[in-house]
Assembly symmetry: C2
């Protein structure tokens, strides 16, 4: 066996999390699995959006949901009630998911079946999860109408690093002093490449556009292989 | 000068943040200043609650507000517009306030005037701020109706370490599937000593009880001196 004498490091060493996230992303791309990381404050409607999404997609696609929470496995139970595979990751106090947690949750399932989509619901926190890549192809930040239209500039990293902004609980607009154009302009100032959708999981408004975006994104990674 | 030969450490050394927080709390108690740390998700209504509170208290008390945000000084501007002293602390990415930030913001003002109340509005984050004492006498967690009644057990530390839970945006109850008794029961399971109030900064419902609680808490620390 030849002795290793020299290793060229072609790029700066990535931190452990980023290294693992990049490896996961490559693996998912090779498998044709689109991976989505959902990120928001607590109560912005991540699980409710997932439920509405899965109801429309579960018959056509193989889907896995990874649910991140500090404690309780309530969210995974809500997903399983729809007949969709779900794994609960409880972080035990940690305020965000990291790539190694995703790796540990997903690896045992990797060869059981090929998934078309994996949805990761991050811990409810608009700050810390923005700093941890999980290997996702799409980072999606939710901003709910009740939270207020001033949030993008106050919590900029989530909006800067996402590719999609969903303005959720759109049906509640009449009850709040929320200017959607202002919120959207602030978010686009931070990140001009952001795709912005407005939707309500309760009434179904905007859900079709969101699902179209998911399917097109999956087509894109499949044709990039 | 006698040489120091021996120091008795009577209790376990506190971590730096806790040590500083305890020193700040003692100093505020000595001065008769009640200090309140407001903690919640983004958009639960901390600044709006403060505005409603200050409108009723500003003529009778000397008040300082310390506003924590990741970026922007919008919240401090909102407070100053009411004629109340406010200092913005921007953390530049850090997801919570720490005692040394409070010390740096408050120290230059310490001898200018005696404050009756100091309100600290923490960074909008239901997770990380719960781990950092700031020297407050009262830790107050806000849970807004739109966030959902399942949050206490999912984000337990904030509810475990607070002395007061405010259920905010109470006027929106008819528009949401939020069971206040369920939320309250979950919070009390985690922390039986929690005082729970329901209020709406918009309609004013419950604000009087909240202000009474603040004034009584101040009386209590003043008579403990």
């Amino acid at each position: 066996m030849a002795e290793i004498r020299h290793v060229d490091v072609l790029e700066p060493l990535l931190k452990a999390n980023d290294y693992l996230a990049r490896r996961l992303q490559q693996e998912w791309t090779d498998r044709g699995t689109l991976v989505v990381n959902l990120l928001s404050s607590p109560g912005a409607g991540k699980t409710t959006l997932l439920e509405a999404t899965l109801r429309q997609m579960r018959d056509r696609f193989r889907i896995l949901v990874l649910e991140g929470d500090i404690e309780t496995d309530r969210d995974a139970e809500r997903i399983r009630a729809l007949g969709v595979d779900a794994v609960q990751i409880t972080t035990g106090g940690t305020c965000h998911l990291e790539a190694h947690m995703i790796e540990q949750a997903w690896r045992p399932l990797a060869d059981r079946t090929g998934y078309d989509f994996i949805f990761i619901e991050n811990v409810g926190n608009l700050v810390c999860p923005a700093s941890y890549a999980l290997g996702e192809h799409l980072r999606v930040v939710l901003l709910s109408v009740p939270e207020g239209d001033d949030k993008p500039k106050k919590y900029p990293k989530a909006f800067r690093t996402a590719s999609v902004l969903l303005i959720t609980k759109w049906d509640l607009l009449p009850h709040f002093d929320f200017n959607p154009d202002h919120a959207q302009r602030e978010a686009l100032d931070l990140n001009p490449d952001l795709t912005v959708l407005r939707l309500s999981a309760r009434t179904g408004e905007g859900i079709d556009a969101w699902i179209r975006l998911l399917e097109e994104s999956r087509q894109r990674i499949r044709s990039s292989r």
